[in-house]
Each structure stands twice: as structure tokens, then as C-alpha cells.
Symmetry: D2
Subunit: 330 residues, 4 copies
């Protein structure tokens, strides 16, 4: 009988940390509106952990989140904080929470930011909840992170446009999408974009094999080819790969790096709904007394899992999808 | 006892039936390329069951499906056939399959077309496989049908545009989305569009409650309101509802019916991937000897279930989503 | 003889009136930033003429117009005022301007709102400038009004989507675009959408001729047809026309009314640039001492013309475009 | 009295040359349909001048251009031919035209391709007409070239997305748009995208001035800045400029190169209409007996001008737009 029922929290805060993703505003709206519906005071921290250390809070009401569900970016601003994970940084942050009498903190972030949230959890009495956002979809413990679906649609629309020019000129294009360590975005982009091939960080790139594949496609009558490359591919990104192909095979290759547009834009319907569900779930979990958890989605259902799942559980690439992309790219 | 292990099929056909959905072409591409990869001859039937009864087949090769993954519509054409389910219609169709020596038929269709496929299965020795397509997402046995995600994004983009004008004019809008019998599309559109309220076929519309809700929103400072209405709402669609509201409350209401654009357009990345997976799965299931099955997606995984699931299993509305939409619409 | 050279204005106001158009925010941004660059105080009137009569002003600074160039709607809100053109309404408005010591007023509006501006000009010493906005492009004295290009692109994108489903089903569609009195939007939509026919308010609709045209197209192998109808067509809009066609010819016709989405959405590049040019030109014209003028674009150049051009000059339909649409629709 | 009335042409050809632009298909559709309406036989040359030298023709009928008005790319394929302008190349091309008894050739191309067309005109009796296409809008003799408006809208949509992330992170971005020698696209993108600054090939880049401008913006409260850079800027493109800024000022700068997506995608309504007008005008001019002309648009009207205008007339940058962009970027 050690556990008494947790007293319902009365004051919580929320912040966005790391690279921004489409859907953060939709998620903040859900956090704020759920909190207000539960009569919980809700504060926003500006500029992620930097703002937390600097005690930069703003109280949020219903108006604060009106008209933002369809906006890219994050109205709370975000940052990649460097000093936060030092002992001094964590102490500062914990003191800010205590000074404001905040009993809970919700962190919208990727793998690194969620790890930071976990370290903070050890220094503060406030309950910490994480919500996964990542256009790379590389956060563990959840099948999807906020922003992935939108970034994927952005990348696919770019591929569709490049296909027009690749076909008109009968050219080979290397198109680079985001994804430093993981190839989820590149694989899904290749599949949905109908790419002829893809290079992922998880799979050693086999240049001669790639070339044979492209040659075969040509023989079968393909008049253009698009190869999707994850920025973190071990062979070195789209420019390096194109250089090697040109050198070894004499092919002329065009390169296009989709870049930062993948982080912006109005979120897709999927991301708005996911963001709304996770924002709501994080607040409700706090109110049920959960702490140090990640609100995620698994097999279509909203779940909370231990916060460390975010970086400890390494999600496998879906080999069914890889096989499918290979069959369909012929 | 002729059949022990199923002999691998050598000749199959595919058709699209009923109202078109974005993603049909991506699915046909996957059916054709998987078949060719497995050395199976693949034929397309033009204009759905009408073409089947009329023996209108065309052999498909790799080129037939080049450059179509991003196209709306269906290159095989589709129709809502009226006479197909009569005994004469089914016999004609079965004879056409026999005459062409076709051992399998894949039907991309909604609830009604899949029911027709099941009736055909009883009259032919060809193995029948169904693939669910429905912008309403009302096919049983699968969490998602091809076209739903794209139609949802289309509807949400329209809502985003109408929000501009609703806000500038401080107006109340009723926006009607597709969905004759089920409100999945309307509910998801309301949630992702940040609508103030929604009216679904499954829930009896309570006009006075709706009005109180809109009044309350106004008091809290909302300067515009959007109510999403499923076309099949029992109160009678957006125009009728608007008429009643105007009559009983004196509100001025604008109405916008999103209409047929929901059926067209380049498919979303989600629909392209789902369509590719299901097209591939249907062919592979046929080759494994499965028959009278539906290829679907459940909890994120591709499955095959009995074909009659399509119309016998009634998918419940997600009450968590309804509750969420209500919390977030304040 | 007090006035010789006009003293440079020091305080001006701006309002948006009538139905909203994409590009109003971009234009307000240009008005505000040009005024501030010229050291002129600038005030926004909320809700058009209603706000002017109600003395609802807000002072604008550089921040007021940050981040709005790409937003649909108007941050000042708009209204279709009913009492403004009464003697009492005009007096109220003139008094509000005098009380605030405003020396100039810029009105962003359509034909009707600009006519109101002209009547106000007779009651006030403040200099009045008009800027044309109209998704119908029916304002005289300018080749293009703010919002037309965006609404046209929206309508064309809808047509593109409907074409997918029209072709897949081999159907005839009537698609209604905005345009109560003039057919500029319908004609341009038909041309850019590749429609098979169009019905404009300015041209008496010839039902038998239309039917012959559709029949001929069918014979030449067209498998779908799209007829663009201006909402103000004298034969009665898309639904009425479809009813007649069905009755007299037995055709099955689908109807889609594009509706209010045409007024919203991010403005096109053309509209953003035009809006920026006109907003800037209106302020600079005021500062040069011009009054009762309309800032417009003619033959690619920015001009100021007498304000009454807006409703007195009736722009002709471009018969070259009509002929072109007829040639290309075969 | 040297000139007798030209006999009406009976057989003409059309080709697309150089980098592709959105709107080429819409233009080809207009060329083909106008020719057919005039009972002129029309042939397409595949792969631009390469196909002309290789005698690669295909006869076109009404069906050839169905359903392409909204497609990016060119169904005739295009190429940047290297050997065409040699005496041997021109002779080959002239012989191909003669062998096919072609009396006219319409070339859709940019500055270089149109210059080639002019050289060909001296070697053949066939009448040559040019149609300007260029996403850079750098062809002389016409106010707009096919593809510019679409590329501009594409670039502006990318800027809108990058603005989300620039603002969320309070960052400085350099965004590179196409335009090797001319800055029309960069200037229009900067204006419509609301950029804080722009670097054009025609204007010597002043790094210290740029930095002062960005500093001033920060002081006035701007939290993000976007600098649009033309790829041909003499200071060396976005990456080089960013490197210099970082080196001299210590700013952290993100770079995004929009790249080849600017050449693809569904054409905007403006480009579809312009392309339709120019395609039609080129055929009609040929039939009137004009030769060695460019069909263009000037001050809103369709004109034909001497073909050499395309490269001999250097269009000035619009200094009004430069000034406007500077005023509005504050």
C-alpha cells in the first residue's frame, strides 16, 4: 500500500525542443485544450530547454491556440539546446519548474530531446511526459512520430515534380531526403514516389548492383530513373553518390536535395490527428498519475510506454516494405 | 480429390468497380508488377463488372502501369454495374473468366462491389480476391481502405481555405463531406480541420445542443465556426441542416458541399503505400492458394481475411476520437 | 485658396470591405509598410464600413503585418455593410475619420464597396483611394483585381481532380465557379482546365448547341466532359442546367459547386505581387496628393485611374479567349 | 509587288528544346488542336533538335494531346542538343524537314534554342516560328515565357514552408532559386515570398550592406530572415554566400537549393492560358504567312515579333519591383 492515489496536477508546462516538425502546433493545441478542459493551468516554455533554463514561460489560454492546427512550425519556438544536459543545465531547469510550482512538464521532441527529458526527470519532482516528433520517424516506442507523414508527402510531391523533368529529359536523378541515421523516410518516399532505387543508412550501398539495376531498367524501356538517397547514407549522400556513379559508370546524374522544406508546411490530416491524440493522451496520462512516459501510437492505438523507449528501442526497418519497393520498382 | 496443393496460378485478371478513389492506379501497378515478377500473366478488365460481362479484357505488361502511381482515377475505368448481381450477369462473368482461362480475379471495390465479387466466387472456379477501396472507409475487415487518406486530406485542405473566409467574415459554415452511411470521413475531417462541431449518420443530430455549443463558442470569443456534416447525416445533409438552424435560431449559415473533388487528385503517400501493399498482398495470396479473401490492413499489418468481412463486419466509430474532437473544438 | 500644393498626409487608414479575396493580407502589408517607410501613421479599420461607422480603429505598426503575406482572408476582418450608403451611414463614417484626424482612407473592395468609397469621398475631406479586389475580376479600370488569379488556380485544381473521376467513370460533369454577373473566372477556368464547354452570364446559353457539342466530342472519342458554369449564368447555375440537360437529352450529369473555397487559401505569387504593388501605389498616390482614384494594373503597368472607373467602365469579355477555348476544347 | 499571298501551309511540325518548363504540354495541345482545326497536318519531333536531325517524327491527332493540359514535362521529350548548330547539324535538320515535305516548324524553346531555330531558318524553306519557354523568364521580346509563373509559385511555396522552420528556430536561411544569368525569378520569389533580402546576378552583391540589413531587421524584432539568391549570382550561389557570411559575420546560416522541382509540376492557370494562347498564335501566324517570328505576350496582348528579339533584346529588371521589395522587406 505504498502508493496513495496521486493528487491531480494543477499546473503544468509544455515545450517543443529540437528540429521542428509539421504538427507541433496541432499538438500544442491539444495539450492546452485538454488541460483547460480538465481545469489545469497550462504554461508554455519558449525556445525549448533554453527557455526552461532561462525561466521563459507564458501562460496559455484557449485563444493562444486558436487557428494554429494547420500551421507549420511551433508558436512556442524551438531550439537545439547545448548546455541543457550538463548538471548545471538540469539544475537550472529543475529550479525553474519548482519556482513556478509546476507539477508536470510535457516535452515534444525527438530522440535526443526525450533523452534530455528523462535526465531532467531525475532532478525534479515534476512529472515528465514525452511526445515523439521526428520527420525521420526514428523515435522508439511509437510506430509514428509527429511530422513524418507530412514530410513524406512533401518529399513525394517533390519527386512527382522531378519525375516530370526526369522523364522529359530521359535522365537519372538522385534525390536526397532527410534521415541522418535511419532510412524510414527515404524508404517510404521511394515506395510512394515510385523510385527506381533507394539508398538507406542501414544497408551498405552496393554501387555496381545499383548500376546494373539502372541498366536493366533502361533495357526494359524506362526512360528516366530516380534514386532516393537518405542524407545519412554511409556512402555519403546524394552528391557523393552521384560523383561516384559518374566516375565509375560515366552516367550523367542530376542531384536534388529536398532540404528544409521537409520540416515546414501545413501538417497532413494524419499528422494533425496523431498530434491531437498524443497531446491529449500526454495530459490525461499526467492526470492519471503517470510519469516519465512517452505517449505514442502502436498498431493504431494510443499508448504510453516508458520514456526511455524513445532511444533504447531501435525500430527495425520493415523488410516487407524493402522487398515491396524492389518488386514494384521494376 | 483432384486438388491437393494448389497449382500456382498462371493467368489472372484485375478490375476496378464502383466509385473511384485516389490510389486505384497505384494498386493496379502493384498487382501488375507483382504478377509479372511471379511470371503470372495479368489481364485488366475495363469498366468493372460491365467489362467482365462484356468480355472486355486487355493484357497488361510492365509499361501499362508506368508513370501512374501518382495519378488519380483508374486507367482501367470503372462503373457501377447494375445487372451484374443477377443470375444472368454472374453467369456471363463466370463464362468470360472461363473462356479466357483465367484462374484468378482481383476486384478493387467498395462494400457493394466486394459483395458482388463474393457472389461471383460461387459461380466460377477462378479464385477471387478483394481489395478494399472507399473514401468513406466503410469497408469491414480492414482498418483503412484505399482513398480514405487522400479524400481526408482534400477535405481538410478545403476546410483550411473556408476557414480563411469564415474568419474574415465571422461566419458560420456547414461543410458537407462524403459518407452516405458512415461518418468516418466526417469525423476525421472535423478533427483534422479543427471544426467546431460535426454531424454524423451514426449519431442522432441534436439541433438545440448544436446551437448551444455554437453560442458558447461565440461567448468564449470564437469569431467563426465550421460544422462538418456527413452527406448521409439523418437530419438531411448540410443544406437541410442549415435551413433548420436558420429557421429555428435565425443564424445566417453558409453551406459548402465539397463534392466529387474528394474522389480525385494525386493519392497521398499513405494511400500510395497502402495501395501498393494491398495490390502485392492480393497477388501473393492468390499464389499461395488463398481464395475468397480480402487483403486489408489491421493494426498496421497487412492481412487477408474472409471476403465477407467487407460487408458483414460493421466497423464501430472510434468513440475516443469523438470525445477528442469534442474536447479540442472548444 | 488655402490649398496649393497638397501637404503630405500624416495619418491615414485602411479597410477591407465586401467578400474576402486571397491577397488582402498581402495588400494590407504593403499599405502598412509603405506608410511606415514614409513616416505616415497608419490605422486599420476593423470589419469594413461597419467598423468605420462604429469608430473601430486599431493603430498598425511593422509587427501587425509580419507573417501574413501568405495568409488567406483579412486580418482586419471584412463585412458587407448594409447601412453604410445611407446619408446617416456616410455621415457617421465621415465623422469618425474627422474625429481621428485621418487625412486619407484606402479601401480594398469590389465594385460595390468602391462605389461606397466614392460616395464617402463626397462627405469627407479625407482623400479616398480604392484598391480593386474581386475573385470575379469584374472591377473596371484594372485588368486584374486581387484574388482572381488565386481563385482561378483553386478552381482549376478542383477541375483537375474532377477530371480524374469524370474520366474513370466516363461521365459528364457540370462544375460551377463563382461569378454572379461576369464570366471572367468561368472562362479562364474552362480554358485552363481544358473544359469541353462553358456557360457564361454574358452569353445566352444554347442548350441544344451544347448537347450537339457534347455528342460530337463523344463521337470523336472523348470519354468524359466537363462543362464550366458561372454561378450567375442566366440559365440558372449548374444544378438547373444539369436538370434541363437531363430532362431534354436523358444524359446523366453530375454537378459540383466549387463554392467558398475559391475565396480562401494562400494567395498565388501573382496575387501577392499584384497586391503588394497596388497597396504600395495607393499610399504613394495619396502622398502625391491624388484623391478619389483607383490603383490598378493596365497592360502590365501600375496606374491610378478615377475611382468611378471601378463600376462605370464595363470590361468586355475577351472574345479571343472565347474563340481559343472553343478551338482547344475539341 | 514581290510578295504574292502565301499559299496556306498544309504540313507543319513542332518540337520542344532545352530544359523543360511547366506548360509545354498545354502549348503542344494548343498547337496540335489549332492545326487540326485549320486542316493542317501536324507532326511532333521527339527529343528536340536531336530528333530533328535523326528524322524522329510522329504524326499527331486529337487524341495525342488529350488529358495533358495539366501535366508537367513534355510528351515529345526534350534535349539540349550539342551538334545542332554546326553546319552539318543544320543541314541534317533542313533535309529532314524537306524529306517530310514540312512547310513549317514551331520551336518551343529558350533563348539558345530559339537562336538555333533562327540559324535553321536560313538553311530551310520551311517557315520557322518560335514560342518562348523559360522558367527564368529571360527570353527577349515577350513579357512572360511559358513556365515562369509555375516555377515562381513552386519557389514561393517552398519559401512558405521554410519560413515555418526559419521562424520556429529564429534562423537565417539562404534559399537558391534558378536563374543563371537573370534574376527575374529570384526577384519575384523574394517579393511574393516576403523575403528579407535578395541577391541577383544583375546587381553586385554587397555583403556588408546585406549584413547591416539583417542586423537592423533583428533589432526591429524580426525573428527569422530569408535571403533569396539566384543561382547565377556573381558572388557564387547560396552556399558560397552563406560561407562568406558565416566567415565574416559569424552568423549561422542554413542553405536550401530549391533545384529541379522548379521545372516540374502541374502548370499554373496563368501558364496554361499563356501556353494555349502562344501555341494557337504560332500556328495562326504561320498560316497568315509569317515566318521567323516569335509568338509572345506584351502588355497583356499576344504579339508576334522578329525571332531574333528572343536573344537580342535584353529585358531590363523592373526597378520598381526592386524598390518595392526593399520597402516591403522591412
Amino acid at each position: 500500500m505504498q502508493e496513495i492515489l496521486p493528487a491531480k496536477l494543477k499546473r503544468i508546462a509544455v515545450l517543443t525542443s529540437g528540429g521542428d516538425s509539421p504538427g507541433l502546433n496541432a499538438c500544442l493545441r491539444a495539450v492546452v485544450r485538454t488541460a483547460l478542459a480538465e481545469k489545469v493551468e497550462i504554461f508554455g516554455v519558449r525556445r525549448g530547454y533554453d527557455g526552461l533554463m532561462a525561466d521563459d514561460f507564458v501562460q496559455l489560454d484557449g485563444h493562444s491556440v486558436s487557428g494554429i492546427i494547420n500551421r507549420g512550425g511551433t508558436f512556442l519556438l524551438t531550439a537545439r539546446s547545448r548546455n541543457f544536459e550538463s548538471p548545471a543545465g538540469l539544475r537550472k531547469a529543475a529550479r525553474a519548474l519548482a519556482r513556478r510550482k509546476l507539477e508536470g512538464l510535457i516535452v515534444l521532441g525527438g530522440e535526443g530531446s526525450l533523452r534530455g527529458a528523462s535526465e531532467l526527470a531525475e532532478k525534479t519532482s515534476a512529472a515528465i511526459m514525452g511526445i515523439p516528433k521526428s520527420i525521420d520517424n526514428d523515435v522508439g516506442g511509437t510506430d509514428f512520430s509527429i511530422g513524418f507523414d507530412t514530410a513524406l508527402n512533401t518529399a513525394v510531391e517533390v519527386i512527382d515534380k522531378i519525375r516530370d523533368t526526369a522523364t522529359s529529359h530521359e535522365r537519372l536523378f538522385f534525390v536526397e531526403v532527410m534521415g541522418r541515421k535511419r532510412g524510414f523516410l527515404a524508404l517510404a518516399t521511394a515506395l510512394a514516389g515510385g523510385a527506381e532505387a533507394f539508398l538507406l543508412p542501414e544497408i551498405k550501398s552496393d554501387l555496381p548492383l545499383l548500376c546494373r539495376k539502372l541498366e536493366e531498367g533502361k533495357r526494359r524501356g524506362k526512360i528516366s530513373s530516380i534514386v532516393v538517397v537518405a542524407e545519412g547514407d554511409e556512402a555519403g549522400g546524394a552528391f557523393e553518390m552521384a560523383r561516384q556513379i559518374k566516375k565509375s559508370m560515366g552516367y550523367e546524374v542530376r542531384v536534388s536535395v529536398i532540404g528544409h522544406q521537409q520540416r515546414g508546411g501545413a501538417p497532413s490530416a494524419f499528422d494533425r490527428i496523431l498530434a491531437s491524440q498524443l497531446g491529449n493522451a500526454a495530459v490525461e496520462a499526467l492526470l492519471r498519475g503517470e510519469r516519465s512516459k512517452l505517449a505514442g501510437i502502436q498498431k493504431g492505438g494510443i499508448v504510453t510506454v516508458p520514456l526511455e523507449s524513445a532511444w533504447k528501442i531501435e525500430k527495425p526497418l520493415d523488410h516487407g516494405l524493402i522487398r515491396l519497393a524492389e518488386i514494384l520498382s521494376r
